[in-house]
Amino acid sequence: MALVEIQNLHKSFGSNHVLRGIDFTVEEGEVVCVIGPSGSGKSTLLRCVNLLEVPQQGQVFVRGEDITDRDCHLDAARQQIGMVFQQFNLFPHLSVLDNCTVAQTTVLKRSKAAAEQIARDTLDRVGLSDKVSAYPMQLSGGQQQRVAIARALSMDPALMLFDEPTSALDPELVGDVLTVMRKLALDGMTMLVVTHEMAFAREVADRVVFMDAGVIVEQGPPAEVIGNPKEERTRTFLRRVLDPTHVEPTP
């Protein structure tokens, strides 16, 4: 059974039809990168997986359970899904350690001592064990994003969602975050990553999904989708991303 299975997903914001029938699965242990031009619906798709956006039509199954069903215990489903945001969204009024323990103690009902031990271990995994007592605002963007990853990992998720995790970072800080994500992938974490980092997608992803205008245009191993795309729309997009200074000849 697939970890995540999405069937015929539609989502509109007012008259703007953002997702136009998405069918899509993520298998256990798989790393899937979603690429595509801005406005193509990649982030909306990701946010539908833990129902931060409620789709108008279609189903989202997590481990076979339909989380779009009104009777589904959504909070329980979300505990299995960690999410990392473009703007980090750390809790600024809590220390780094408390950011990583607040959901453990309130949602998973772990004891304070157990939660702190797990938080320290995950912060160690992202290389920030020396920052436990700092507040988020005292950290660089790259450090904040790694804390956000640790906060999500502290909940022992089965799946991690990354919504353009490096897009808000200064270029020299991107590497640290990608290193942590690469390590996570090697450890066997199931990951769904919306990204513009083509090199990362090519190296780490098991499968690359190209989206445009609310539909999945093509998907497959990175060598095929990025290396040798079949669709013209994919080729146009990759040309622009991989060679931003390239000027298209006017016909």
């Binding site: 833990n50 931060l52 909070d75 329980a76 979300r78 505990q79 899904i81 960690g82 999410m83 945001f85 703007q87 969204n89 750390l90 809790f91 600024p92 009024h93 809590l94 220390s95 607040v102 959901a103 309130t106 949602v107 507040y135 988020p136 605002m137 005292q138 956000a148 906060r151 999500a152 909940m155």
Partner: protein, 320 residues
Amino acid sequence: MSTEAEARPADAAPERPGAINAVPVRHPGRWVAIVVIVVLVAMLVHLLVTNKAFDWKFVFEAMNQQPVINGFLKGTLLVTVLSMIVGVGGGVLLAVMRLSDNPILSGVAWVFTWFFRSIPRYILLFTMGTLGILFPQGIAFGVPFDWKIIDWLGMSGDWRFFTLDANQVFTGLVAGVIGLGLSEAAYMAEIARAGIMSVDPGQAEAAEALGMSRGKVMRRVVLPQAMRVIVPPTGNETIAMLKDTSLLLAVPVIGELFYQLQSIGSNFYKTFPIAVAATLFYLLATSVLMVGQYFLERHFGRGFGNKAPRAARPAGAGGA
């Protein structure tokens, strides 16, 4: 003016440039202001000390009377604390209701805010004091319309658990606290709503994505951050409330500070010293509140890099 300072002694001419002969920027305007202020303060002190109308001895004697002190402790301080508890608690609840997706909840909150913001506090308190007339048989807690239902079923007796004497409820301090508290809740609702809306929606999203329930998201993530925005205007509201306790006269509450002072004043035909005594009481209480506000702001400012602004904040919190 500065050319003299820049000119270097001709004979020195060292190989390396010497220390700059810096002259501090001059502020002649400040000196003028200081002189004016000193003169004004001297005039004020002279007035306070020499003008017989102040009658300081009588002022302090009046302030030291037991009914007056009781009026200050109960009528002013206690009512302020209780009304603000009702006001802040009710206000946060109303704000959460108002921002809810449920149209019933948000509608109820809107109507409440509309009603209590529309009535002047003096008139509201006056009305609270007379509400007992609506319930000549007291306020009963039990099954609504029980007499109709019992009549319809052909039974007898009543389905009431206990009854309060309405004339006891809507009188004195209780009526005052209910009136001031409900009125305050309507204003606090708007302040709390502004505070909640000031928190980045990404905060609630991140907390929900971690599996936290709506209530936990509010209590653990949104409200603590909203407090940073809510506390300064709430300090203002508390100070305004402290002064609005003098409106308890409308209920009437005769154990209130100003009522007690006035009765002394009219006994001895000394109106002005009584006003001075009341002013001193309110100055004292307000100063204490400002210190409290400073510490609250510092607490809720954690993690935001900005310490509570030092002396400037309490001075700016003058309020209504």
